[in-house]
């Protein structure tokens, strides 16, 4: 038993990759964090547009309803297309666009645009579904009080869906951690990059195990933190 512990300790001390793993972890955090920010900034309005133009919210005026219907069809189509492309393919397809946008398709910077483009449609759908869960009676009350659509969205719809939105952000954050690791395949940086370069290309199993362990801890932490926020902000 003591031998085993001793051996493990020696292995930890002999492990030369701690500084690289530290940088990789930081890169993963930056990539996931920034892309989460942009994902929410894009996905929240897109999801809201899907909700407001979707069934049950069409105007009684035929002209307005037609505009709503077409907006819904187009946005929904784009969202579906982006969601149906596998992330790895999307990464490759987006290389020229990424270069144009951030100057490089490599490293932390190069990973963020494809991450956002993959995650924002996913998040938008989550938002759309969450807003549909908001009690229709509350929205009718807003209408009856003479609230504008903007007031209804910002003062009632989003606050009512807020704890659900936090849960959706948590789910998306975890998906982004996973995706960001995948972007290592095309030189995206972060823990995924380490796992690919050392674990896959050089058969360095310890590095792979440590990377995966860190990812596991990261995901657990995000879920725990998300759940706590949801619990605190729920007034049901």
């Amino acid at each position: 038993m003591l031998d085993l512990l001793h051996g493990a300790w020696a292995a930890v001390m002999d492990f030369d990759y701690w500084s690289e793993i530290g940088t990789g972890t930081l890169d993963t955090l930056i990539m996931s964090g920034l892309s989460l920010l942009f994902t929410v900034l894009i996905g929240l309005p897109v999801g809201t547009v899907l909700f407001l133009t979707g069934w049950g919210h069409r105007s009684p005026r035929p002209g307005v309803a037609a505009v709503q219907a077409w907006t819904y069809r187009i946005v929904s189509f784009v969202v579906n297309v982006l969601r149906s492309v596998p992330f790895l393919i999307l990464l490759i397809l987006l290389i020229p666009a990424t270069r144009w946008l951030v100057g490089t398709s490599l490293g932390v910077q190069g990973a963020i645009p494809p991450l956002v483009i993959a995650a924002a449609p996913f998040f938008a759908r989550l938002v759309e579904n969450l807003l549909r869960e908001v009690d229709g009676g509350v929205l009718e009350a807003c209408r009856a009080m003479g609230a504008t659509t903007r007031q209804t969205v910002f003062w009632a719809l989003i606050p009512e869906a807020f704890s659900g939105l936090l849960a959706a952000i948590t789910v998306t954050a975890i998906a982004l951690v996973g995706y960001s690791a995948m972007s290592g395949v095309i030189g995206g940086g972060g823990l995924g990059d380490l796992a690919v370069r050392y674990g896959y290309q050089r058969f360095n199993t310890p590095v792979m195990i440590v990377t995966v362990a860190i990812l596991v801890v990261l995901v657990q932490f995000i879920q725990w933190a998300g759940d706590r926020c949801v619990a605190r902000l729920s007034h049901r």
């Binding site: 009718e140 009856a144 009080m145 606050p159």
Partner: protein, 336 residues
């Protein structure tokens, strides 16, 4: 105050068209409590929602204080809705906001008060509905009755001229229902607010309404002053609703057994308190049996309704009895 003229409402559904309202004419006067009663699916909700244009009529016109509001849209429509308060069966409060934030919502929407004035107005209406002590709580932690009080406070915040009540007490227990109805009456009296309410129970109507309309299959089948509709219900739906609530006596003389005349007497107001029947009986030296009776109050008016049966040997004095009833302002109907 509110005038609805020849309104139809048709819904287009996947299976075709469904006409919810047929040729509705309605006049609600300023300061009265107007009750609309009907079974579920009769079109009550659609009718109520026409008044603040949550539903648009397919045909006909709607006036509020002589303004034709039928085709209002955009900003003028929102202004109108701020003048018409509404409370709901399921309260429809924001769960993510405290009681006072819920009540402040319509004030923020209207944008005509400063922040401090808004806070003052919120405190004022919370006081009015007697729920100031719950101001900082979330609706989720309140009872149904308290939530409806918050709903009322929110509806009153912008000092509306009309309050619409959509089955406002249907989700509440009988005791809470009575306290909410008392509150509505108090508000009606204190603020001179016009109230239009829809319900499926006669008990609500009899407690608060001044006038009533009975809705059946999208048509108004009977309407008038509360007491008249209650005591002289003509339409079968009205009668069914009345007998379900056990308020008015059954109209049929089924309870009578003999071969003599059967009379139904209806009286209201002060007559109820006087020992009228025993006096008439003594003066005429007449005997009769009471087959059925109900005595009570409709809003503030006491009323009584009795079915009498006369034995055969009283026949000669029948005319005298009728004359005595007439001279005492008792309405009667000869049923048999």
């Amino acid at each position: 105050m509110i005038r609805i003229q020849q309104v139809d409402k048709t819904y287009r559904t996947r299976t075709g068209e469904f006409q919810a309202l047929h040729g509705i004419d309605l006049d609600v006067s300023k300061g009265e409590v107007f009750g609309i009663i009907g079974r579920s699916g009769a079109g009550k909700s659609s009718l109520l929602r026409l008044i603040n244009l949550l539903e648009r009529p397919t045909a006909g016109r709607i006036f509020i204080e002589d303004d034709d509001v039928t085709h209002l849209d955009g900003e003028p429509l929102r202004r109108l809705r701020q003048r018409v308060g509404i409370i709901f069966q399921h309260f429809n409060l924001l769960h993510s906001r405290t009681v006072e934030e819920n009540v402040r919502f319509p004030l923020r929407v209207a944008r005509n008060l400063s922040k401090t004035d808004q806070a003052r107005r919120v405190a004022e209406v919370l006081e009015l509905v007697n729920i100031s002590d719950q101001a900082k709580k979330y609706p989720g932690s309140l009872s149904g009755g308290q939530r409806q009080r918050v709903g009322i406070a929110r509806a009153l915040a912008n000092r509306p001229q009309v309050l619409l009540c959509d089955e406002a007490t249907s989700a509440l227990d009988p005791e809470t229902t009575q306290s909410i109805l008392r509150l509505l009456l108090e508000i009606n009296a204190r603020l001179g607010l016009t109230i239009v309410l829809i319900t499926h129970t006669m008990d609500v109507i009899r407690t608060v309404a001044d006038r009533v309309a009975v809705l059946d299959h999208g048509r108004i089948v009977e309407s008038g002053k509360l007491i008249d509709v209650f005591l002289n219900a003509r339409h079968e739906v009205t009668r069914a609703l009345l007998s379900e609530s056990g308020i008015a006596a059954d109209r049929s003389a089924s309870a009578a057994r003999g071969a003599g005349h059967v009379l139904r007497l209806t009286y209201q107001g002060e007559t109820v308190q006087s020992p009228l029947l025993t006096r008439i009986s003594r003066e005429l030296g007449m005997d009769f049996s009471i087959v059925e009776a109900s005595v009570g109050k409709l809003k503030d008016t006491p009323y009584g309704q009795l079915t009498l049966e006369l034995s055969r040997q009283e026949e000669p004095r029948f005319r005298q009895l009728l004359a005595a009833l007439e001279s005492n302002a008792v309405r009667y109907e000869v049923l048999q």
